[in-house]
């Protein structure tokens, strides 16, 4: 049957066309989701929109740009009554920021990812009065790599981008990961 043969050849050709893409110059895109921290406005959607019961987006601390402030604006509320670590003075709703004394007058702030819900409150605080060393990022070991990230769809600042498998993280500033 000639029509059938023709259709068959056409189907085969159609299946092959996407592979023409491979001859294009390889660009820096892949299929893993990451947030561009410089675009994020910490709207809070990252906490609620992820398909997972607990969001795959967590706060990440880039220590190298941290000021180790005594009065960390990511740690304390703006309208705190006093600088003590009572719950109502702190920004983080789940008490996920662990504060440890380093040396006078510096403190180290560490994010406990078990507790972090990715709400971005501390990130906002740090960005407005501090160095901006906290940022939200999709944690690759938690993320399901949805074909369309539910957060990306609603992110008001268009901060979500796709990255290739060999460059799986976007950092806030100079990358300084150990490999």
């Amino acid at each position: 049957m000639t029509l059938r043969e023709l259709l068959k050849v056409m189907t085969g050709a159609l299946l092959a066309t996407p592979f023409l893409q491979l001859f294009r110059k390889k660009e820096e895109t892949g299929y893993y989701w990451q947030i561009d921290p410089d675009k994020c406005i910490q709207c809070g959607k990252c906490e609620t929109e992820c398909v997972l019961p607990r969001s795959a987006v967590k706060c990440v601390h880039q220590y190298a740009s941290c000021g180790y402030c005594l009065f960390c604006s990511g740690y304390y509320q703006d309208k705190r009554i006093e600088f003590n670590t009572a719950g109502e003075n702190l920004r983080c709703p789940t008490d996920a920021i662990v504060r440890t004394y380093v040396e006078d007058p510096y403190f180290e702030y560490k994010i406990d990812e078990e507790k972090c819900i990715g709400c971005g409150k501390c990130v906002k605080g740090c960005a407005s009065f501090g160095n901006g060393s906290l940022f939200l990022q999709v944690r690759r070991h938690l993320c399901k790599d949805c074909n369309e990230c539910r957060i990306a769809k609603v992110c008001p600042s268009g901060a979500f981008t796709r990255v290739p498998a060999d460059k799986p993280y976007i950092f806030r500033h100079p990358p300084e990961v150990k490999s």
Binding site: L15, V60, N131, C146
Partner: protein
């Protein structure tokens, strides 16, 4: 206030005496499982074809699909799966962006397999199919006419979702996937409602998603038309016991049709010529519908929405972010107009194509000639589950003989 909070050293990094500044806490690069998925998928397709055609084993196919469910659904990352990947490809082709090789391969392998052996992917490797197979209890037969109409939905979805992906409207199919809550173990309400509906329907209607929603299924169906090897039930002289037809919950087994008289033949050919004459009309109507649906679609585009909000001075988060990023309004306008035009073209094309597909379906239906005195399988509707093999008494006899 600096809303974006770009890194700025308001407080210089202190110099410590004996404290080493820690590095970012990041799990070392998470392993990329895509090569494994490709390898396993190939293996599953080969094993599936062997089990289904050589051993004709229902149990084998069931075990294979269970293994597929565990591996592709739970052990390896389940997303992005071949079912939704046509969207990535549509997006890549339309925008001229790079589509990773992994996606290309995962998408084409099952289709290539369908060109040779039919929908072995559906019966053996698709986690969604396996889940539906498990969650099926009692088959209610759907009237043939309704079945034929509903069969058009996957084609429509295939075209619509591709159009959306091509126009930058996102991947709508990913929101229609009813079994997602089971794979991500999140049973919060908005996600779970669709899921519950499909599961309840699936108890009585076999593979509701596969038959009436899955756009990838439509592609597989199309490829199966040209399959080199198609499933055949009757190994020997068929005794017309009807058991296989009752055994197939998917309506893929066709009863024999005694040689039709010349009167019905002539009626058939008249119907065929009417249908062929209707093709231009269908194309025109489809295109028209698509053309008029386009503005509603493009108003959902990110840039179009943002432009509208900026122009009407609404205080949305998007506008806030837009202002904070200091992007230029003219660029946004250009992007929005581009998106609108693109949607118009894509939707018109999509409508015309749907018209063409619907007509093709009707024509194929009226041209089909069945076997004269034995039951046969419509390969394009067969999910390669092997139930009919298990139901055939001749086949069972043969198998016990072998033993």
């Amino acid at each position: 206030m600096n809303m974006l909070g770009v890194v700025q050293a308001r407080f210089p990094a202190p110099e410590f005496d004996n404290y080493k500044v820690p590095l970012i806490q990041l799990e070392n690069i998470v392993a990329d499982v895509t090569p494994w998925r490709i390898l396993l998928l190939t293996l599953f397709l080969v094993v599936g074809a062997v089990l289904f055609y050589k051993y004709r084993s229902r149990k084998g196919m069931l075990f294979l699909s269970l293994a597929g469910l565990t591996l592709f659904g739970f052990v390896l990352k389940s997303c992005p799966c071949p079912v939704g990947m046509f969207q990535n490809i549509a997006e890549g082709v339309a925008n001229g962006t790079y589509v990773p090789l992994g996606i290309l391969l995962l998408f084409t392998l099952p289709l290539v397999c369908a060109l040779f052996y039919g929908r072995v992917f559906c019966g053996g490797a698709c986690p969604l199919g396996a889940l539906q197979e498990l969650l099926h209890w009692h088959t209610l037969t759907i009237p043939l006419a309704l079945d034929r109409v509903l069969r058009l939905i996957p084609i429509l979805l295939l075209l619509l979702c591709s159009a959306c992906a091509a126009c930058g409207l996102g991947f709508p199919l990913c929101y229609l996937e009813p079994y997602l809550p089971i794979f991500v173990l999140n049973f919060a309400t908005p996600l779970a409602i669709l899921s519950a509906v499909f599961i309840v329907v699936g108890l009585f209607v076999s593979r509701p998603f596969c038959r009436f929603v899955c756009p990838y299924g439509a592609l597989l169906r199309f490829c199966t038309l040209f399959a080199v090897k198609k499933p055949v039930i009757t190994v020997k002289e068929c005794v017309n016991c009807k058991l296989c037809e009752q055994g197939c919950p998917n309506g893929a087994v066709l009863p024999p049709e005694p040689d039709t008289s010349t009167a019905t033949r002539r009626k058939g050919s008249r119907r065929l010529s009417t249908l062929v004459a209707c093709i231009p009309l269908a194309l025109f109507l489809g295109g028209l519908l698509g053309y008029f649906a386009a503005p509603a679609m493009s108003s959902m585009h990110r840039d179009v929405r943002l432009l509208r909000d900026v122009e009407t001075k609404q205080q949305t988060l998007e506008v806030e972010a837009f202002e904070a990023q200091g992007s230029s309004l003219n660029e946004l306008k250009a992007r929005a107009v581009h998106a609108q035009n693109k949607t118009l073209v894509c939707m018109t094309l999509c409508g015309m194509l749907f018209g063409a597909c619907a007509m093709a379906e009707l024509i194929a239906e009226s041209r089909r000639r069945r076997e004269e005195n034995s039951y046969s399988i419509d390969a394009s509707l067969c999910f390669c589950c092997g139930r009919c093999y298990a139901a055939c008494p001749l086949e069972r006899k043969e198998k016990t003989h072998e033993k």
